[in-house]
Amino acid sequence: MSAPSAAPAAPDRGRGSPRRIAVYLAGRLLGAAASMAAVTVTAFFLFRVLPGDPVRTMTQGRAVTEAQLDELRRQYGLDKPLGEQFLDYCSGLLRLDLGVSYQYRAPVTELIAERLWPTVLLAGTGTLLAAVLGLWLGTRAAWRRGRVVDQVNTGLALTLWSVPTFWLGLLLIVVFAGTGGFPTGGMATPGVRGPAAALDVAHHMVLPVATMVAVVYAQYLMIMRSSLLTEMGSDYLVTARAKGLRDALVLRRHAVPNALLPTVTLVFLNLGQVVAGAILVETVFSWPGLGQLFYQGLRLPDLPLVQGLFVFFSAGVILMNLLADLVYPLLDPRVRV
């Protein structure tokens, strides 16, 4: 990823020169690659430090002979020395093979693929709604800072932000599920097929998405509010007003677009975490996503599963950070300098 041939021909030191862009790109890509390598090594050793013997946990309460335990260790590859296990893991990773889960007896990549869609659906919808709601309310709060709207909005958002997710989820279940007609958990009613299935999934999404949005929208609100407040002291707003523009227009056309920049970063960071799902929300609502899978994996510990998910989640965050780095110069000319 080094500088392309154009570099020596035109030693342009100005803004946005191809050479500078190439250096910028190469730097970001190298950084991402280094992070990924560190994550790979960490994933393997981190979970091996966890106490507990997966074979013992798996067979807990079952009548097993030693031969059976040895057979399980052989099947899981735990009879090999640690170094060999690590090499197997690394060579598998190069082939995009994350190993076979102990408890599900299925390839980890297959398990991740199976549960990726439910997680993206839930966490993606939640993040999107939270961002939209947060930006909108944050704008209102900043524009009328110190007034009742601001105080109520900010107060409510911060209160919800500090509420434990599982508690809020359970509260929603108690109030709205069962007698309220919403399902208490899961993603679909068994046996529902065809067009009704989409509606059924939407029905199952209402409470978990509501929980997620309620807890996280505050961060978008606060960032939007504070960055808009910064913009509101700027000269160009005074100019805009002096031109005779209505307040609402000054806000929408001038202040908000500038204030959006920090929020974009936040959205990207959170998009990276979308694949990690909302472990707590998924657990409370028995949502068959990646977060729940991770939780299941940790209980054993199901080493191939948790290390595979760890690598996958980290890759998601690293990729999104990289994207944010790459997109940012397009949005904000100042970064290109």
Partner: protein, 611 residues
């Protein structure tokens, strides 16, 4: 400075579009309860019975499945040779109609029921059983889950379709408790690597139980269809749906709302809250499991190599018995379990009447701190200045106790024990830690007291076997049981009970073994916690517990509960919307309508401005 000028013209309409999109999504979400609302309340109405399970499925392959939830499903799908009766757990015929043993006890001949078929119409006979057992003996991968049952088998053959002959290398009294699902040879002989086969792709699965495995949504649900031609009679419900819940409280709410008809694994607080609710019956079944702790009597390998750092004073039986005398088990039942438990004395839970043992008055180690103090005084454990006794060798009686921190009942029990033992001059320091760490400490022999619990099967052989000298680890760090107990007399009893084919005589030997465990006080049981379950009695009738008195419904040894359950005739179940749904829908409509109106007004304002 000029930069902000460019985008506004385009941004303005988009700025309005975003909230509109949001409003639409919200509207879709808010209105969606309407169509499936009727479906949400179908936990047990009609011909489908929905039950909640709190564990995922690891595999539907009976040769490898380990989790209790998978075993519970497989018991409904595949037959076994014999099955513990619903009434009293005595072995009764399933595939096998009758059986006899040779005089030397080494040959078991089972007569297989005639005229049975697999769900695909193929004949089910002794050859399927012979193939199943033989495969487990020959392929270590096929022995993963149930290999222990065939470890002592010499050979298995089917001289004719109605006869199965099993030759043993030494007598084995557990032959009527072989919890091995028999699979169809014509399907499974086609499977290449049995250890890697999950049996969840080709549905419905070919089986021969009261239900057939019809559909599976990983991590969500399992759907079973009733087999109308099941030889013992058709099940009461046409379909059985097992829904997986990851949250216990959400599961209880699902029962309240009628979304599921059965929940299990309840906490005492949950059971109490459900008690007395109309249409719901709480079943507090006698525990299959004992909760207790073991004392480190000096960890050692089979060859006698000592390791670990157990307190030396615990090698003295007097100290171990004094520990037991200090504990008030009755208080535990009330304090920790809210009454949903029974005081445990014998190692085998009280629900197994044939094998359960109680100490006679003279040998009982009940709550008696006074006697504990006297015993310790007599044995020379004198109280030091800080109130902690010191052994004749000069070691203060300070014990480390490892307790699972993810089990509230263990934690509360541990705290009570710290208190009670302090009263007799024994200082106990509780380590409330992760169960993984508990396993590591046990393996390393680095503990003084350690909490444990086992689920006991109708045949007690296995839980008795883990305290023989054979169960000691070959090398440090590979412990199979939960106590480093090793006693010659106990081992003799163990061998004798395994060779005794007369149930009454065997029960006597098992009683002697429990007396020995009780007196030695290395393996100590405290309570048998009730198995707390609840079901919609307004949706289910005639469901059978196992055993009939004080029995459980979930995880039975057999298929009795779900086979016997029948739909209760609908009395008042009316369709349509519940008032709460209607109120919610109206509120949502008002909210969304308001939002849309607001946006429209704002857009109009913008347009005015443009003109």
């Amino acid at each position: 400075m000029a930069f902000p000028q460019a985008p506004p013209a385009r941004r303005s309409p988009r700025g309005a579009a975003l909230p509109v999109a949001t409003a639409l999504v919200l509207a879709a979400a808010a209105l969606s309860p309407l169509p499936p609302a009727a479906a949400a309340g179908t936990g047990g109405t009609g011909d489908t019975l929905t039950i909640a399970m709190s564990q995922p499925i690891d595999s539907f392959n009976p040769f490898t499945a380990q989790l209790a939830s998978s075993t519970a499903v497989l018991r409904l799908v595949y037959p076994t040779l014999t099955v513990p009766a619903a009434e009293d757990n005595t072995p009764t015929g399933e595939l096998a109609e009758s059986w006899r043993t040779s005089d030397d006890g080494l040959t078991w001949t089972f007569t297989i029921r005639e005229g049975l078929t697999w769900s695909d119409g193929e004949a089910l006979d002794a050859e399927d059983a012979a193939w199943t057992f033989t495969t487990m003996m020959e392929d270590p991968g096929a022995a993963t889950a149930n290999g222990n049952f065939v470890a002592n088998f010499e050979s298995v053959r089917a001289p004719d379709p109605g006869t199965l002959v099993i030759e043993l290398s030494k007598p084995q009294a557990t032959m009527l408790a072989l919890d091995v699902p028999i699979v169809p040879e014509h399907v499974w002989s086609e499977v290449g690597d049995i250890a890697a086969f999950d049996n969840d792709r080709d549905l419905p699965v070919v089986g021969a139980g009261p239900f057939t495995l019809a559909a599976y949504e990983p991590n969500q649900s399992v759907t079973l269809d009733a087999d109308e031609d099941f030889w013992r009679g058709a099940p009461g419900f046409d379909h059985l749906v097992l829904r997986y819940f990851t949250d216990q409280d959400a599961m209880v709410e699902a029962l309240r709302g009628g979304e599921v008809s059965f929940v299990h694994n309840l906490t005492p607080a949950q059971a109490e809250s459900l008690e007395g609710e109309p249409g719901i019956t709480v079943n507090a079944a006698d525990g299959k499991r004992f909760t207790g702790f073991t004392v480190n009597p000096g960890a050692r390998t089979r060859d006698g190599e000592e390791f670990g750092d157990g307190h030396p004073a615990l090698r003295d039986r007097t100290v171990r018995q004094a520990v037991m005398l200090a504990i008030d088990k009755e208080a535990l039942v009330e304090r920790v379990y809210g009454g949903y438990a029974t005081v445990a004395e014998g190692y085998i839970p009280a629900r197994y009447e044939d094998y359960h043992w109680r100490p006679a008055d003279g040998e009982r180690l009940g709550h008696d701190p006074e006697r504990a103090r006297e015993m310790l005084d007599e044995a020379g454990y004198e109280e030091g200045a800080d109130g902690v006794r010191v052994s004749p060798d000069g070691d203060p009686l300070r014990f480390r106790m490892a307790v699972h921190n993810d089990r509230p009942d263990y934690v509360q029990t541990g705290r009570s024990m710290e208190e009670w033992l302090a009263e007799v001059g024994i200082a106990v320091e509780g380590d409330y830690i992760d169960s993984g760490q508990i396993g590591d400490r046990l393996n390393a022999g680095e503990y003084d007291l350690i909490f444990t619990g086992w689920t006991v099967n109708p045949d007690p052989d296995y839980v008795l076997g883990i305290h023989t000298c054979d169960a000691l680890p070959e090398e440090p760090g590979s412990m199979r049981g939960d106590a480093y107990f090793c006693d010659e007399e106990y081992d003799e009893y163990y061998a004798a009970q395994l060779a005794e084919y007369d149930p009454a005589a065997r029960a006597d030997i098992v009683a002697d073994m429990q007396r020995l465990l009780y007196t030695e006080a290395v393996v100590n049981v405290l309570v048998y916690a009730d198995m707390l379950e609840a079901y919609r009695s307004d949706q289910i009738s005639d469901i059978r517990t196992q055993p009939a008195r004080g029995g459980n419904l979930w995880a039975q040894d057999g298929y009795w509960s779900w086979w016997s359950a029948r739909p209760r005739e609908a009395e008042t179940e009316g369709g349509g919307l519940s008032p709460a749904v209607a109120v919610g829908a109206v509120a949502a409509v008002v909210l969304v309508g308001g939002l849309v109106l607001l946006l429209v007004l704002r857009r109009r304002g913008t347009e005015d401005e443009r003109e």
